[in-house]
C-alpha cells in the first residue's frame, strides 16, 4: 500500500469542528459530558473517546487579533515512539500506509505509549484499561477512502493523499503564504503535516511540540539498556561459567586460607 499523508492547512481552517464530529461518528465514539469551558474548545483535551479536537488560541497582537484554530490528532510518526515503547505486539502497529494503528484487542493498558509519544496523543481509559487514539481511519483508507475528518472538512483545510504529492503541496503552499511546514524534521517524519501561516508562532499554541523527535530516554531505554540486560546477564553468566571451568568451585579448605562464599 502506498504511503499517505494528511495535510492540515492552518491558513484555511475556520474551526467549524466538522472533523471533530465526523471522527466521533465514524469511530462510533460517545459524546463526553462537557460543561462550559470559557472557550469554544470543548472538550478541552483529547480523550479516550475524543481522538481529534480543534484547539482555539487567541492572541491580541500589534498587527491585529489572531484566533488560531488547530486540528489536533495523532501525527502518525514514520518512526513512532509509541510503537517503540509498546510491550504488547499488535497493540500499536505502524502500517505501510503510514497510519499508526492501535488495536484494543491487544492493548494491555500499560500507558507506555502515552509517555513515549512526542505529541502527547494517546489517551487512557481507566474503565476500559486501554488507550485509544486516531487511527488515520485505517479502516477507511484501506478501502480507498479519505479519513472521516478529511471527508467532512468543508474548507479544504484537511487533505489526504500520497505522501509525495502532499509534501510537495505543503511546501508549495507554505511558500505561497509565507509560512512553514510543520513538522519539518527529516529525522522525524510524520504522516500528518501542517502548513503554518507565517504570522503564527507555533510554540505559543496549545499542545504543540515545536521540535518533535524520538525522545532520547526512550531511545536509551529501547536501544541501549534493553539489549544490555541480556548482554549483561549473558556476559556475567558466561564469565561465571569460565570461572567455574578455570578456577573451579570455591571449596571450603579445612582450616586453611581464607575464602568466601556467596556474592
Amino acid at each position: 500500500m502506498a504511503e499517505y499523508i494528511k495535510l492540515i492547512d492552518l491558513t484555511k481552517c475556520t474551526g467549524c469542528r466538522g472533523c471533530q464530529v465526523a471522527c466521533k461518528q465514524w469511530n462510533e465514539l460517545p459524546a463526553e459530558k462537557t460543561g462550559f469551558t470559557g472557550s469554544l474548545q470543548n472538550p478541552m483535551d483529547l480523550s479516550y473517546s475524543t481522538w481529534c479536537l480543534i484547539r482555539y488560541d487567541e492572541f491580541d497582537e500589534a498587527d491585529g487579533m489572531k484566533w488560531i484554530m488547530r486540528h489536533d490528532a495523532c501525527m502518525h510518526c514514520d518512526w513512532p515512539a509509541c510503537v517503540k515503547a509498546c510491550p504488547s505486539p499488535g497493540a500499536l502497529v505502524k502500517t505501510d500506509s503510514g497510519a499508526v494503528v492501535h488495536d484494543p484487542n491487544y492493548c494491555i493498558g500499560c500507558k507506555a505509549c502515552i509517555v513515549a509519544c512526542p505529541f502527547d496523543i494517546p489517551r487512557y481509559s481507566e474503565h476500559e484499561e486501554k488507550i485509544a487514539k486516531c487511527t488515520l481511519c485505517y479502516n477507511r483508507i484501506t478501502d480507498g477512502k479519505s479519513p472521516a475528518c478529511v471527508t467532512a472538512c468543508p474548507t479544504g483545510t484537511l487533505e489526504f493523499g500520497p505522501k509525495e504529492d502532499m509534501l510537495a503541496k505543503a511546501h508549495a503552499r507554505a511558500e505561497a503564504v509565507g509560512g512553514s511546514v510543520y513538522p519539518n524534521n527529516p529525522k522525524y517524519e510524520t504522516h500528518v503535516i501542517y502548513v503554518v501561516p507565517g504570522d503564527v508562532k507555533l510554540a505559543a499554541l496549545q499542545h504543540v511540540n515545536p521540535n518533535p523527535k524520538m525522545p532520547t530516554t526512550i531511545l536509551w531505554w529501547k536501544n541501549l539498556f534493553k539489549p544490555f540486560t541480556l548482554i549483561g546477564m549473558g556476559g556475567v553468566a558466561g564469565m561465571a561459567a569460565l570461572h567455574y571451568f578455570i578456577k573451579g568451585p570455591h571449596r571450603v579448605e579445612k582450616k586453611e586460607e581464607g575464602g568466601e562464599a556467596d556474592g
Binding site: G15, G38, G64, M65, T155, R173
Partner: protein
C-alpha cells in the same frame, strides 16, 4: 444568491458583512479558500465582533452593531469620489442616468428623511422619474444632470465622509480606507467582488436597506451578473430558499407572485394591478408575463375552477395590513388567534421577545407542533418552561415528523439549485413525513366540509390534491412527492399548440415561456417550470461535467430559472456581447451561430437588443429604488434601541418602522403585551439602565432554535451551555471572570436570563462619538428542552421589525449584564 456557491471561487475580493459565513455557512469557505488560493483573492470581514470568519480573513474591520449603512455609505462615497465606478456598466445597465422628479428631496436636503413623510409613512409620489410621452424615463447618459440618479446618489453619499462614518461605526479610519480601496479596486471590468451577507444584514429595522446598500455598491462597481460577483444572501437553512420560492411568507404567492388584497376583488383587477407595463421596446419587462404565471398557479390549486372562481377562492389580505411573525405574536397575545400550527418552527425560542410568545401561546385554544423532537414550543405549558400547567388551557398536539433523510423531495439551496433527495431510512415510530401529515389533514378537512358544510367550503372541497388516495382504513397511503414536483413544474390541462408544436394534455410544460394565461396550463410555481420534463426529473441529475469550465455544472441538479446559474448575466457582457472579464466569462455571443454560449442567458435576444435587467419594467438595475418603504437610497438610522444619537442627521431611528411599543400602549393592552413589546429608545429615562449593546447570533455547532442539535450528543458536547461573549474591559468593569455566570436583563425582561460569560479579547469596547460603548453577544440556540439546555436569548430581544419586511431586529438592542452571585 444572484450567483451560486461555486462561483465564489471566481471572486477577486470577497466581503463578508452581516454574516459569519465561516461559522454558519462552513461549506462556503471551500470556495472562498479556492478563490484565495487560485486567484489570490482577498477576504474582508466586517463585523462587530471578531468571528471565526474574521480569524481567517485578510482584513478585518469592526463596526458597531447596526451601522452597516454608514460603513457602506462611506464605501459608496469613496467609489464615487475616487471615480472608481465601472462607467459603461453604470450608464447602460443601471438607472444612474434616469432623471428623477425635480420635487424629490432626500436626507441631504431635509435632515435625514425623504420627501413625502407623513404620519409614519412615505407618500412616494415624488420618488418617480421624469418620463417622455410613452411613459419611459428620461435619461442623461452623461450623468451630469443634477436630477439624475447618479448625481442624487453622489449628493446623498457625500455626507458619508470617513470622519463621519468612523464616528458612527466606531471603526478605524485607516483600516476602513484600506478596505474601501481594496474592495472598490474591482470597479475594473475584468475584476469582480462578491458580498456574502446573511442575517447580520437583514435583522435590523433597516435590514432591507442594508442589503440595498450592498446592491448599490455592487452596481456601481459593475459586479452584478458577473462571475465572482453578485450579492449573495447566504441562506441559514438548507431549504430556506425553497421555502421562500414557494412562498412561506404572507405577502407573496409561489414564484414571488403577489398576494391578492381585499381591494382586488376580481382576477382581472388583480392581474392588471400586478402586471407591470413598459412601452420601451428595448425592455423585456419579463413580469409582463404575470398573467400566465398567476393563471397557471390558480389552475394548480383548483384544476376544475375557472380563473375568476379560482381567484375568488384565494384568501385576500387587508390592504396595508401585515401578517408576519410579530403581528401574529401580537394577535395571539391579544387573544384574537385561537389556533396555531407550528410546523418545524420553534417560536418559543426563535421569535423576538420570546417570553411574550410563550405567554401568548397560553391564550390559544389549541396548538399543533410538528417536529422531530418535543420543542420548547410544544412544551411551553410544562414546568420546564417555568409555568404551572394547571393554569394553561391550551390543548397541545405534538405530531412526530420525519427528518430530511427519512423522506423524499427536493431542497433548494442558496444558489437556487433544486436538488432531489432520496429517502435514506424510514422514520422512527409514528413519525410521518410532512406531505403525509398535510395530505391527511387536507383529506380530513375535505371530509368534514363535505359532511358539515360550514362557511365557504368550496376552496377546500375543490382543492386539487391528487398526490395520494385515502385508504379504506381512513388513512392516507404513500403520498407521492414526485406528483407534487410535477404539479410545481406544471403540465398542460388540454391539448395546446404552441409555435407549431402540439402539447397533449398531461404533458409537462417545457418551460415558463410556454405557460398560458387562459387556464390551459397549470404550474405550482412558474420559476420551477422546466425542472421536470416528460422524460426526466432534472432535479435528480448528478452529472459532474463542466464543459465551459466556469463552474456552472448545468447537468448537476437543476437551478431556477431555466437552469440559469448566474442571474442578470446579460450584465456580464458589454453591449456587443463580449464578457467584461475574459478569464471568467458567464455568457458570450457567438456571431456565427447567432447564439449565446456559456450559462443559460437572461433571454436569448442578441446583444444590445434588450436591456440587461429583464425582470425590471425599465430594464435597468436600480440605484434609486422607489419600491422601498423607507427611501430610495439607503440612509443610516440608529437601531430603535440605541445609546447613540444619530450622528448624520436629526432623524434618530427609521421614520417608518411600526412601533409596537407605542401601539400596544395606545391600545391599553394586556400588561404582558406592554411589557413584551417595550423598547428602551434613545433618550428614554430607561436608557441608562441598559447601557450595553447586545447582538444575537448562532454558532456552527448548533442550528437555529436548537431543536435539531441540542438533542444530539455529539453537538451538545461541543457547545453544552448558553453563554455570552464580552470584552475583557467590560468584564473588568463588572467584576466578571471568564466562566462566571451572569444575568442579562433588558427592558422587556427585568428579571433577565442567566448564562455563562466568555470573556474574550475578540470583543472590544467601541469608541463612538467620544464615548466608550460596550457590546456583548449571545447565542440564541438554547431553551429548556433537549440534552443540553440553557436560557433563551430571545427573552430579551425587541419586538420591532424592518420597515419593509418586518424581519425582527435581533442584532442590536440594549441590555445590562451583571455577575450572578452564586
Amino acid at each position: 444568491m444572484t450567483n451560486h456557491w461555486i462561483d465564489i471561487a471566481h471572486a477577486d475580493v470577497i466581503m463578508v458583512i452581516g454574516s459569519n459565513a465561516a461559522e454558519n455557512h462552513p461549506i462556503s469557505f471551500k470556495w472562498v479558500n479556492e478563490a484565495r488560493e487560485k486567484r489570490g483573492a482577498k477576504l474582508i470581514s466586517v463585523d462587530p465582533r471578531f468571528t471565526r470568519t474574521s480569524a481567517t480573513s485578510d482584513k478585518y474591520a469592526r463596526l458597531r452593531s447596526g451601522t452597516d449603512i454608514a460603513f457602506m455609505g462611506g464605501m459608496i462615497n469613496y467609489a464615487i469620489s475616487k471615480g472608481r465606478i465601472q462607467k459603461d456598466y453604470v450608464i447602460n445597465y443601471t438607472n444612474a442616468s434616469f432623471l428623477v422628479n425635480p420635487d424629490f428631496r432626500g436626507p441631504a436636503d431635509i435632515d435625514g428623511i425623504f420627501s413625502g413623510l407623513a404620519n409614519g409613512k412615505y407618500n412616494k409620489s415624488t420618488w418617480s422619474y421624469q418620463t417622455d410621452a410613452d411613459g419611459n424615463p428620461l435619461k442623461d447618459t452623461t450623468l451630469t444632470d443634477p436630477n439624475c440618479v447618479f448625481q442624487l446618489m453622489k449628493k446623498h453619499y457625500a455626507r458619508y465622509d470617513m470622519k463621519t462614518v468612523c464616528k458612527i461605526t466606531g471603526g478605524d479610519p485607516v483600516l476602513y480606507e484600506e478596505i474601501y480601496d481594496l474592495y472598490t479596486s474591482t470597479y475594473k471590468p475584468e475584476k469582480s467582488a462578491t458580498i456574502m451577507y446573511a442575517m447580520g444584514a437583514t435583522q435590523h429595522t433597516y435590514g432591507s436597506q442594508n442589503v440595498r446598500s450592498y446592491a448599490a455598491l455592487q452596481l456601481l462597481l459593475g459586479n452584478i451578473g458577473v462571475a465572482g460577483g453578485g450579492i449573495n444572501a447566504l441562506r441559514g437553512e438548507s431549504n430556506v430558499q425553497g421555502s421562500t420560492d414557494h412562498a412561506a411568507l404572507f405577502h407573496i404567492l409561489p414564484g414571488y407572485l403577489k398576494t391578492p388584497t381585499a381591494s382586488q376583488q376580481t382576477y382581472e383587477q388583480y392581474v392588471k394591478e400586478s402586471t407591470p407595463v413598459s412601452n420601451d421596446p428595448m425592455s423585456a419587462n419579463w413580469w409582463g408575463n404575470y398573467p400566465k404565471y398567476s393563471a397557471s398557479l390558480l389552475k394548480a390549486f383548483w384544476r376544475d375552477a375557472d380563473l375568476e372562481t379560482g381567484y375568488s377562492y384565494f384568501g385576500k389580505i387587508d390592504n396595508g395590513k401585515n401578517y408576519s411573525t410579530i403581528p401574529i405574536i401580537e394577535q395571539m397575545a391579544s387573544g384574537k388567534i385561537k389556533g396555531l400550527f407550528c410546523w418545524g418552527q420553534n417560536p418559543a425560542v426563535g421569535c423576538p421577545s420570546s417570553r411574550l410568545v410563550r405567554r401568548a401561546l397560553a391564550k390559544l385554544d389549541w396548538l399543533v407542533a410538528v417536529d422531530l423532537w418535543e420543542t420548547e414550543t410544544a412544551a411551553f405549558w410544562q414546568t420546564d418552561a417555568g409555568v404551572d400547567p394547571a393554569y394553561i388551557n391550551t390543548e397541545v398536539f405534538l405530531l412526530p415528523a420525519a427528518a430530511s433523510m427519512e423522506k423524499e423531495g427536493s431542497i433548494s439551496n442558496s444558489g437556487r439549485w433544486a436538488q432531489w433527495r432520496w429517502k435514506a431510512a424510514d422514520p422512527p415510530g409514528d413519525a410521518r413525513d410532512d406531505l403525509y401529515i398535510m395530505t391527511e389533514l387536507v383529506f380530513k378537512l375535505k371530509e368534514l366540509y363535505k359532511k358539515e358544510g360550514g362557511a365557504f367550503p368550496e376552496p377546500i372541497l375543490d382543492l386539487s390534491w391528487d398526490y395520494a388516495k385515502m385508504g379504506m382504513d381512513g388513512h392516507v397511503h404513500h403520498p407521492n412527492p414526485r406528483e407534487v414536483a410535477r404539479e410545481i413544474n406544471g403540465f398542460f390541462l388540454k391539448d395546446t399548440e404552441i409555435k407549431g408544436t402540439l402539447y397533449k394534455a398531461g404533458q409537462m410544460v417545457p418551460s415558463f415561456a410556454f405557460l398560458q394565461d387562459d387556464g390551459s396550463t397549470c404550474s405550482g410555481n412558474w420559476l420551477y417550470c422546466n425542472s421536470i420534463s416528460d422524460s426526466e426529473n432534472r432535479m435528480m441529475r448528478r452529472e459532474t461535467s463542466d464543459p465551459s469550465g466556469q463552474g456552472f455544472y448545468h447537468n448537476w441538479s437543476w437551478c431556477w430559472p431555466v437552469n440559469r446559474r448566474i442571474i442578470y448575466n446579460r450584465a456580464s457582457v458589454d453591449e456587443q456581447g463580449r464578457p467584461w472579464a475574459k478569464d471568467k466569462p458567464v455568457i458570450w455571443w457567438d456571431g456565427l451561430s447567432k447564439k449565446w454560449l456559456g450559462d443559460v442567458p437572461d433571454g436569448g435576444w442578441a446583444p444590445g437588443s434588450k436591456y440587461a435587467f429583464i425582470m425590471l419594467p425599465h430594464g435597468h438595475a436600480r440605484l434609486f429604488a422607489p419600491g422601498m418603504t423607507d427611501g430610495p437610497f439607503p440612509e443610516h438610522y440608529e437601531p430603535l434601541e440605541s445609546q447613540v444619537r444619530n450622528l448624520i442627521s436629526a432623524q434618530q431611528e427609521s421614520p417608518v418602522i411600526f412601533r409596537w411599543d407605542k401601539a400596544v400602549q395606545e391600545q391599553v393592552c394586556d400588561p404582558m403585551l406592554v411589557e413584551g413589546a417595550a423598547a428602551c429608545v434613545f433618550g428614554s429615562p430607561d436608557k441608562d439602565k441598559f447601557p450595553i449593546v447586545c447582538t444575537t447570533y448562532r454558532v456552527t455547532e448548533h442550528w437555529q432554535a436548537g431543536q435539531m442539535t441540542r438533542w444530539l450528543p455529539w453537538l451538545g458536547e461541543l457547545v453544552p451551555d448558553m453563554f455570552i461573549e464580552l470584552s475583557e474591559e467590560l468584564a473588568k468593569e463588572k467584576g466578571i471572570r471568564n466562566g462566571d455566570k451572569v444575568r442579562i436583563t433588558s427592558i422587556r425582561n427585568l428579571e433577565g436570563i442567566v448564562a455563562y460569560a466568555m470573556v474574550t479579547k475578540r470583543f472590544k469596547p467601541f469608541e463612538v462619538d467620544g464615548k466608550k460603548l460596550h457590546q456583548i453577544g449571545m447565542l440564541w440556540h438554547f431553551g429548556y428542552k433537549g440534552r443540553v439546555t440553557g436560557s433563551i436569548a430571545n427573552d430579551l430581544t425587541p419586538l420591532i421589525g424592518d420597515a419593509n419586511t418586518m424581519i425582527p431586529e435581533y442584532k442590536a438592542f440594549l441590555v445590562d449584564v451583571n455577575r450572578e452571585e452564586v
